[in-house]
Every structure is written in C-alpha cells, then in structure tokens.
Symmetry: C2
Subunit: 192 residues, 2 copies
Amino acid sequence: MASRSTQILEAAARVIARRGVRGLRVEELAAEANVSTALIYYHFEDRSGILRHTLEFISDRAGRYTTRRDPDAEPLSPREELEQTLLLELQDTTEVRENSSAWGELRASAVFDDNLREELARATLVWVQEVAGLLGRVCPTAPAAALAASAERLTALLEGLSMRWLSGTLRVSRARTLMSEAIDSEADQLRN
Amino acid sequence: MASRSTQILEAAARVIARRGVRGLRVEELAAEANVSTALIYYHFEDRSGILRHTLEFISDRAGRYTTRRDPDAEPLSPREELEQTLLLELQDTTEVRENSSAWGELRASAVFDDNLREELARATLVWVQEVAGLLGRVCPTAPAAALAASAERLTALLEGLSMRWLSGTLRVSRARTLMSEAIDSEADQLRN
DNA sequence: GTCTATATCAGGATAGAC
DNA sequence: GTCTATCCTGATATAGAC
C-alpha cells in the first residue's frame, strides 16, 4: 500500500508533467494528492524539498520501466532489445510523457540549480552505461571507448528528440524514425 | 545604435541565461537593463510577451553568429563550414553560453507554454533547413529527404549535448568530440 | 498525521506625473 | 518614452485545533 509520502510524490510527478517544475504550485499538488498543503509541508520541508524528492522518485521509476520486460515473450535479440529500450522513451502514453517531461524539466532546472546536478549526473551515467552494455551485446568486438561514445550520442539524441516532441516541434512517429536510423547507423559504425 | 527595446532584450537574454525563464523577475530585468519596470511593460505587454520577444531575439542572434565569418580568410570547404557551424554552439564563451542556455530554457518552457511553441517551431525549422543546406553542399548527390533527416538528427543531438554540457553532465571538449564524430558519420551515410 | 484558517510577502502589473 | 510610487493577486509557509 502506498504511503502518504508516496501518494504525494506520485501526484507531484503528474503535476510536474502537466505544469513543469516551474509551474508546480503547492496548492495544486495538494488538490491532486487529495491532501492539505500543510500535510505536504509536514512531510517535505519546503517547496524545493518536494522537488528534490520528486526528482529522485522519478529517476528511480524511469529506471524501472526501462528495463521491465514481458516474462513470457521469447527473449529479444540484442539488437531488438537495444532498439526497444531506446524507443520506449518515445511513446505517447501517459507514463512515458510524464517521465520524459519530468526528466526534461530536471535536466533544464539543473542548469540553474547546483543541488540537482549530482543526482542528474548519477542517473545519466547509469543510463549511458546501460545503453553501452546493450550496444556491446550487439557488437561484441567493438572497443569499450567506442561503445561509450555511441551510447552517449544515442542517449543525448534521445533527449534532444524527446524535448522536440514534448515541445510540439516534432511528431512522435518522426522522432521514432530518426531514432531508429541513428541506432542502425551507430551499430554499423561500431561493426567496422 | 541599440534601441531601448533591444537593450531590454539583450538584458533579458543575460538574465535568462543566469536565472532561467522561471527565475526571470521583471524587477531584476529592469535593473539589468537600467530601466524601470514600467518601461518594460510599456514595450512588451506582459511577462510572457517579454519571453516571446526574447526567444525571437535570441534565435535571430544565434542565426547571425552562426553564419558570421572572417572576411579575409580563404573560403571554407562545405565540410568545414558545416562542422564549424555546428561546433560553434559548443564553445565555452559568454555569448554562446548565454544563447544556448536561453535557448534550452525556452525549449523547456515551451513544453508547458503554448505561446512559445509557434516561434520555437519556426526557429527550429530555419535552423534545420540551414544545416540541411550545408549537408547538401557536402553531399550533393544525397536525396532531399535524407538530408532533412540528417539535419534533424544533428541539430537534435546538438541540443541534447548542449543541455548536458550546460547542466554539468558533460565537458565541452567531450561534447565537441561526440558532435564531430556524428557529423562524420552522417556525412558518410549520405554518401552511400 | 492531518486539517482549517490565515499570516506573509514576493513579484507582476498599473496609475499618473513628467 | 520614461520614471516613481503603489496596488493587489497569487503563492509559500505556519499556527493551532483535532
């Protein structure tokens, strides 16, 4: 059963996805979570405490859905697994939209808020390494440095495309196409 | 000679680069521009008007510094010109930092602010087309659709890398390396 | 732990003089 | 066009009862 804190953090993720970190109002969060504002201040010291905890919550949750898989399906080839992992982030579902826009907000906020940088760097590193690992299974002969570079490019591209999608500059379908072509291209490159 | 409006917009770009869009206080902007808050409201209807005009200002300015060149130097090859155009955005100078962080902020804000989307889409399109044009001169035989896709990927990657740089997750030098490798790779791909 | 009610104040916006 | 002075809303945060 979700604790009160968790319930508030889930609501916070929804509000951030809807309004952004910048647009989060404690009162709106209270309404979304069906609690009073006072309770929020009881659990989290202040507004920026809410933000910190929510962003931690979101990056943990993103890690989970990225690696989750249907247990009955036949195992994916490394190539498919890589593609799926990356394209998962470009789907117009509530969950993905919520995580992606919160992630984008986190990244953007970190430019002006040192407190967020460490957590962000940690989460990015995990993410890049996961992709590098998948690439390594696609191209087992590629040197580690090349895998790392490809993973950095692919994840950075994914963030760029996500932002364009979320900001209404690019359709999801187009973003997906561009992303898979990039994956192919990096994989080819690594096979040289 | 810079008009008052321009003076305010230049100050706005500096303040946004320093504090972010959400951190922009009309009063701080007034101080930065050495004018009163009332004058700002005289020239721009309201806070979001300031934002819209600043976005326009920034994208025009980015267009300018991107294409500016030393008149005495011998002309660049298309390949060099492309590389220079893109790598110009990854330099740790005040001007570039200012434009890039303001640009990133505005992109992030547009996710939640419909007023910014149109201008953002326009500016992105111009930018993508400019890069597609440069790519076309590098690989004159490539079909237009492929040039467009490469340009979209390269500019999206650039935005992604810029954000990582500005948010302290990636060094500029690393970002530059990753970017030039991507340019090479897209150019090779187009030559097939 | 949770609520209702309210203090407090920052900051967007305007009135009116020059 | 530009300023000084000020209004006032909306948002954070707290007091105190249950």
